[in-house]
Symmetry: C2
Subunit: 129 residues, 2 copies
């Protein structure tokens, strides 16, 4: 993988923004600092890094995909109101049992994605007002 200023910026911006940003949000952060960046390049780089296991993509939110610089296997929880995403780490044991359940299907399992949907503390407070 050949060096490019764009890719470096994309990775670093993702790393320093642990909010699980969308491609679009990353673009809005990087574009002002480095105007030559194009959306196509952003998506291409994100996908490349996902393929190489350098970052992770969180799909299945019924919205734009989000990206995560934490490569370790973990789950996510998304607020249905404000869209905030937080990490959920499962115990080794739980993780093992999950895979065991899936292995009953006779599939060869490559990976999994777990997404909880809910409402975050802040949005619950706002609702109560």
């Amino acid at each position: 993988m050949r060096y490019s200023k764009q890719r470096e910026l994309i990775y670093n911006t993702l790393k320093s923004n642990p909010c699980h940003p969308t491609a679009d949000y990353l673009y809005s952060l990087i574009k002002p600092l480095y105007p030559p960046l194009s959306l196509g390049t952003l998506y291409r780089n994100l996908n490349q890094m996902v393929e190489r296991g350098r970052i992770k993509k969180i799909s299945g939110l019924n919205q734009a995909d989000r990206f995560d610089h934490i490569v370790q296997v973990h789950a996510h929880i998304i607020c249905e109101i404000c869209g905030k995403v937080e990490d959920v780490f499962l115990s080794e044991e739980l993780s093992r049992q999950l895979n065991k359940s899936a292995e009953k299907t006779a599939f060869k399992i490559n990976r999994r994605e777990i997404i909880f949907n809910g409402i975050c503390k802040e949005c619950i407070k706002k609702q109560e007002k």
Copy 2:
């Protein structure tokens, strides 16, 4: 919810096709039997039934959403090659522990989606040839 021929057909077709069809596939099944059906109506009805808990939507496949007439909470596994989706049922205990892990985030949890990615038995065989 007022009766409509379209909705009845959609629900029945979903029920008799446990392959977790996409909206598009449902359309291809129903349209020939009942040509007045439009795609917009199909999507509108599917979403309505999801909201009312009569069916489930499986998102996060990096492809078209799929629909499931089984309302009971369960996970899914999708074949990365042929796209086949199968059900994965988790034990009560595992289910409870999953939710407990997520509750550590201080979110109020509404639901969850678990998707395993892998390769099905048939596709593994084909690869070996």
